[in-house]
């Protein structure tokens, strides 16, 4: 395993040269970009830019190679069998919509059931809600306990012979807990159910291998893993993708078009209509290089250390309640909390005044907040490039909040 610990440092991220005093703890929303990623995108646009996949000249071939090399890099990163199973999208939301529109519209019929984990981000809930409504299918929820845990027993009980599809995140963006995807996938397949895994919060932080997990689909976003905004990935099992109709239609996804009809390009191009985001794909490949060179051992070790530090300090402060597991190891850099008597908007405003960026609200997971019986929460989410000083600044502000809202203690 490669491990270049110099890559843990904030000094690789130019944004912190500009905002020297910024404590950035909103990494689950989006991560900052290392210089190597931005440089790779620049190099592509300065030296290799042309419309890929169709030009019959040298520069277009370079652009095509840059794009397809990035696809191969993604394939290796998540352990897919074939590059045909790697579809570039804009982000995880688009990837999930692709499955809902293409696989969903072709396979879900009236009376079918779709099972969705209650903690899902709206992007892994609304596509299924719309699909269920449109097809007259039933949308069921898999409920978690107060610690954010989904048990195998509860899952077996929620699954019925009619359950055609199950959607769940590998790591919830509110709890930070890793869900037992591999076990769920095995049970799904025994039941003839397709499993869709939202990897937006897991792929940047833990090693993910689609063959080992045995999921049917995996969606993730580049921007949450050091890469530019506007590039995302859908992994799909080849046998499924081959049978699915196109999602968007247009250029670059066709083989032959007549006035009456068309035949579609082979995988993965069938699902990539229009001129594609080569710069984004190149940036994603550079991000994967960065992660690989640093190594997930180093990333996980660092993120777990910082999570534990923050968790232990938060537990010492009265009136703070952490949502989810009561141990740091099950949070993976995501600490969502409430403070007695203080609304998350006010919490965020005070953190902002102290130059600490955190997130307040329902984190695009309103059904979960209803399930937990809280209106809204505050979330700090860290990445390997955060350091002890960031956590100390976060804790220092956290300790002052009730006093600054006018409470005595």
């Amino acid at each position: 395993m490669m491990m270049n610990k110099a890559l843990l440092s904030k000094s690789n991220f130019p944004v912190f040269d500009v905002y020297k005093d910024l404590v950035y703890l909103d990494n689950s929303a989006t991560q900052q970009k290392p210089k190597s990623v931005v440089d790779a995108v620049n190099t592509y646009y300065y030296e290799q830019n042309a419309n890929p996949l169709r030009g019959l000249y040298d520069l277009s071939v370079k652009a095509t190679d840059a794009y397809e090399d990035s696809r191969e890099k993604v394939r290796g990163f998540i352990g897919a069998k074939s590059v045909k199973e790697i579809i570039f999208t804009r982000n995880a939301s688009e990837s999930l919509n692709l499955v809902a529109y293409s696989w969903g519209r072709a396979n879900i019929i009236t009376g079918d059931e779709i099972l969705v984990a209650v903690s899902e981000h709206h992007s892994d809930l609304l596509p299924w809600q719309l699909l269920a409504k449109e097809k007259g299918a039933k949308l069921n929820y898999l409920e978690c306990d107060e610690f954010g845990e989904y048990t195998i027993d509860a899952f077996r009980a929620a699954l019925t012979p009619k359950t055609k599809l199950f959607a769940i995140a590998q790591i919830s963006n509110v709890f930070g807990r890793v869900n037992p995807i591999k076990e769920f996938a095995q049970i799904c397949h025994e039941n003839g159910t397709i499993i869709v895994c939202d990897g937006a919060q897991s792929v940047p932080h833990i090693p993910v291998d689609v063959q080992s997990l045995d999921v049917d689909f995996l969606a993730f976003s580049g921007h949450k893993m050091l890469a530019p905004m506007g590039i995302g990935v859908l992994y799909g099992r080849k046998e499924l993708l081959e049978k699915m109709p196109p999602f968007l239609s247009g250029g670059e996804m066709i083989e032959y078009v007549t006035r009456e009809g068309a035949t579609y390009a082979e995988l993965p191009h069938k699902f990539e209509a229009g001129t594609v985001n080569v710069g984004g794909a190149v940036g994603l490949a550079a991000a994967i290089d960065y992660i690989n060179e640093l190594g997930f051992d180093a990333i996980e070790q660092r993120e777990n250390e910082l999570t534990e530090l923050a968790f232990n300090e938060m537990k010492k402060i009265p009136h703070i309640h952490i949502i989810g597991a009561d141990n740091a190891a099950d949070h993976h850099g995501i600490l969502t909390f409430t403070i007695d008597g203080v609304h998350p908007h006010d919490i965020a405003a005070i953190f902002d005044a102290d130059n600490v960026a955190i997130r307040a609200g329902h984190h695009c997971a309103q059904p979960l907040h209803q399930h937990l019986g809280v209106q809204s929460t505050t979330r700090m989410s860290l990445a390997f490039y955060n350091d002890e000083q960031d956590i100390e600044r976060f804790i220092a502000t956290l300790k002052t909040i009730r006093r600054r809202m006018g409470y005595d203690g």
């Binding site: 006010d346 307040a360 609200g361 006018g406």
Partner: protein, 142 residues
């Protein structure tokens, strides 16, 4: 409490509101929702013979929205609906940073929310109760 984040007036109205309670027999009730943050309030007014004789609010919100609702009710109880609408217009102009010193005095304690004009993310919080009152006075909900 020298480091009070929003100042004493807002902190006090947030922590010790005078008008935060239910009014089951109110003549008028209207709901207000801030969809971006999920906050909602319910505004209750008693209007008799063209005068707002009493009012209250219930619901959930941040300190700015709660203090704004409490201060608003303090200002408009005892006034006519027309005067309440006049204050609403003044308050909106204050939040937009377009108010004169004299007008600011008319708003009394609501002037403590003037700084919201420099906090664009919080404008909706400050306006929630005022928008809800305007909707109520224009015949919204019941």
């Amino acid at each position: 409490m020298t480091d009070s984040f929003y100042g004493e007036v807002l902190a006090d109205h947030n922590l010790h509101p005078l008008h935060r309670h239910d009014m089951p027999c109110a003549t008028h009730v209207c709901k207000g929702l801030n969809p971006t943050c999920g906050d909602d309030i319910e505004l209750h007014l008693d209007i008799h013979d063209g005068i707002i004789t009493d009012g209250s609010f219930t619901g959930i919100g941040c300190a700015i929205s709660q203090a704004s609702a409490d201060i608003m009710l303090e200002l408009i109880i005892g006034k006519t609906p027309e005067q309440a609408k006049y204050y609403t217009a003044l308050f909106r102009r204050m939040i937009s940073g377009e108010i004169t010193e004299d007008e600011l005095e008319e708003l009394e304690e609501a002037g403590a929310l003037q700084n919201v004009s420099k906090m664009p993310a919080r404008v909706k919080c400050a306006l929630l109760s005022w928008n809800t009152m305007e909707k109520l006075l224009d015949g919204g909900d019941s």
